[in-house]
Symmetry: C2
Subunit: 426 residues, 2 copies
């Protein structure tokens, strides 16, 4: 569950446009807005292919018994969601036998060479993710690592260790996988990359990581059933309307703030979801991320006393910790922290959050939107994904743009292909 | 070496204020500006205590033979610089026996509990870093992990496995270490936290990580000797003047862009250095980070087509890769990427950078400052640190603030202490 608290946002209820929300709700529901070919994510938590899901579970289980490392090869929406889920649900220092390592999201020769060296002699598998199979970054990473895996495991064994997530019927990666005998799972045609983490793009690697994906779907379905109101009582719409109201007041950037290190890549995933959906036609809030307490001791000074009306903060506040410890009593009390003895870390962190909100909002005159979030687990991950996907649909339409395309991403690709002499490009 | 290229910045030379640069150079040189008690970093690369350095080397070597994991406990400047150096120099998938894990930079109970669980039965040491020893976040993390280490190793052995980096003569951590028999190294009084990575704060953990810190100092000295001009031919000043000129044109935020995953925490370190130095009195660029190619497929859309005159980009462009690989020729060429076969990843990445700069600057009308940077190694890390430290001194004075204090960081702490009932605070 996510509850939106605007008590510290400096917004008056009247500034949120309930009528516009109602109109756009109809547009989403009747699929009559711009980009309506890409609304597959709305029904997906219940509409996905159950046979394919069962098949994915079998393949993932078999893979878990054969490898120690899964290298996923993908970029953008084929990278951030997987990492966001894995780090949020398993945490940063987990003891599961399978480690996920990412590739295909960089062309750094140093990174690729070092990864290749690191994988020598290790038991690894590959999950390559690309709708077309012709994207340069994952394409050249796959060429390198596929060759290495075949050299290390032999060509027959490699067929059991490589899985492709790609288009269901055509494209370069589908053809390659069919010819070479690699299993494939399907990226739906009506769900864009940044909305794809609940499709096989995310679900297959997470199954290999040993994560309970049934619970992820359970959470997404719960969100789908909870977030049905056509007005501001719908919490996803309330968040969308609040950020739009601040945007209309002149704010340029929204900082998503977490107090949990393992949520850092949730913020990165959110940055793509909102930045790529809304940053067009000269519009859109610049999405940025802060991880507190770390960034209280780096960006905190700017937040407290820098220019106003540039950035506002949206805080994800966790209600229940997964693990908890209490501060030890120390007889000597050299550090003077005995006043905290017996208190749990979670209790202290919660108080810190209140103190920071008060400092930033009252002394700093910086609006804070609070998202009250239940817990960092599989089910709540599913809930969070659906919440933000619905919110960005509402928010993008409120801004007057098509939230489901990304025309600007092509410009650098065309430039690059031209400079690299790709056949047929001039 | 770092060379500043303004060809794509949309700035005319006349917009850079050479006279102001000359005036401020005198202020820095004669130590006559605001915050001049904290200019110790200027001479530090040559002025540091050689006896203490030799002692650190001995202790670090001994520690390397006894542990597999070094947990550093620190926040802000006692965290980001260490991680920035470790990841840039050793890379993300290195094979050195010592792993560094960070703590004390979060109060997340989930993180601390999971880390504690992870360390059970493992051979670990602790490097606790705090000038005062009373900062809450590292303080409570140290209480927890110190107890665990003593339980796992016994109280006598633990004395060899715990090192404190703290004030030279007083403070809670100094007292604690003396009483309990832990070795200490000194944080100089005239160097602030965000400028401290070349002091024992950074150098001791990096020695334990097996990094050649002699080379780091060599690079810092090279920068100190190179960056001596009193005008815009000084590359650090040129960068400072360029970002100030864009700030004066109305830009709100500067995105530091890297194409190397292992430079991600250089960007985080830079964010603290610039954000905490300049974000005061209602002034300062909001510092933010982007890691390409990843973020080309997330923030790229916003950068290409979002609002203008909000963000400008500063690109760190690496001249020479550490490792390099070439793209394999594939007989079948299903992915259509054979036009890249035989080209090195570094060559492709360099062309990609040109293509992106052209797309962002010409199609996107977004100014780009290019920092041409030699190589990701120990020596160049030292150079980079000194370059940015000198740049922020110039830049902060140009903005008319004291770049060496951080008054705003105290507000949340006071709030938190009040809410937590700290004795003597009301």
């Amino acid at each position: 569950m996510i509850k939106v608290n605007l008590d510290h946002s400096s917004l008056k209820t009247v500034e949120l446009d309930n009528n516009k929300v109602k109109q756009i709700h109809e547009i989403i529901k009747t699929k009559s807005g711009a980009g309506n070919d890409f609304l597959g994510w709305i029904e997906w938590p219940e509409a996905f292919n159950k046979n394919e899901y069962d098949q994915m579970k079998k393949v993932a289980n078999s893979l878990r018994s054969k490898i120690d490392i899964l290298v996923t090869i993908g970029i953008g929406g084929s990278y951030l969601g997987i990492r966001a889920a894995d780090e949020m649900i398993r945490g940063l220092n987990h003891s599961d036998k399978i480690k996920i390592i990412y590739s295909g999201h960089t062309m750094s020769s140093t990174y690729v060479a070092q990864l290749s060296e690191y994988l020598k002699g290790k038991k690894f598998g590959i999950c390559v993710i690309s709708k077309s199979g012709t994207t340069t970054e994952p394409g050249i990473a796959f060429r390198t690592l596929e060759k290495q895996l075949i050299e290390q495991s032999g060509i027959e064994k490699a067929k059991e260790l490589i899985v492709a997530i790609t288009d269901g019927s055509r494209g370069a990666l589908k053809t390659l996988a069919n010819k070479k005998g690699y299993l494939t799972f399907t990226i739906p045609n009506d769900i864009g990359g940044r909305f794809s983490v609940l499709t096989p793009v995310g679900i297959f690697p997470l199954l290999v990581a040993g994560i309970n994906t049934d619970n992820i779907f359970k959470g997404a379905i719960k969100a789908k059933n909870n977030l049905v109101q056509n007005d501001l009582t719908n919490q996803a719409y309330k968040y969308a309307a609040a950020r739009n109201a601040l945007y209309n007041q002149g704010y340029k950037a929204e900082a998503l703030v977490t107090y949990e290190l393992q949520m850092q890549y949730i913020n990165e995933w959110w940055k793509q979801l909102f930045g790529e959906s809304e940053g067009k036609e000269g519009k859109g809030l610049f999405p940025t991320s802060m991880v507190f307490s770390t960034d209280l001791h780096s960006m905190g000074q700017w937040v407290q006393e820098g220019p106003r009306k540039v950035v506002f903060e949206t805080i994800i506040k966790i209600q229940n910790p997964v693990g908890n410890l209490s501060v030890e009593l120390d007889q000597d009390n050299y550090d003077g922290l005995n006043f905290l003895a017996g208190k749990s870390f979670h209790e202290i962190n919660s108080v810190a959050i209140e103190g920071v909100i008060d400092a930033h909002v009252n002394a700093g005159k910086m609006p804070n939107i609070i998202l009250e979030f239940e817990k960092m687990d599989d089910e709540q991950f599913g809930y969070l994904v659906y919440f933000f996907e619905l919110a960005v649909a509402m928010s993008g339409y409120m801004m007057g743009i098509n939230p489901f395309d990304q025309p600007g991403v092509e410009v650098y690709k065309q430039n690059m292909f031209k400079l690299l002499g790709k056949p047929g490009i001039k």
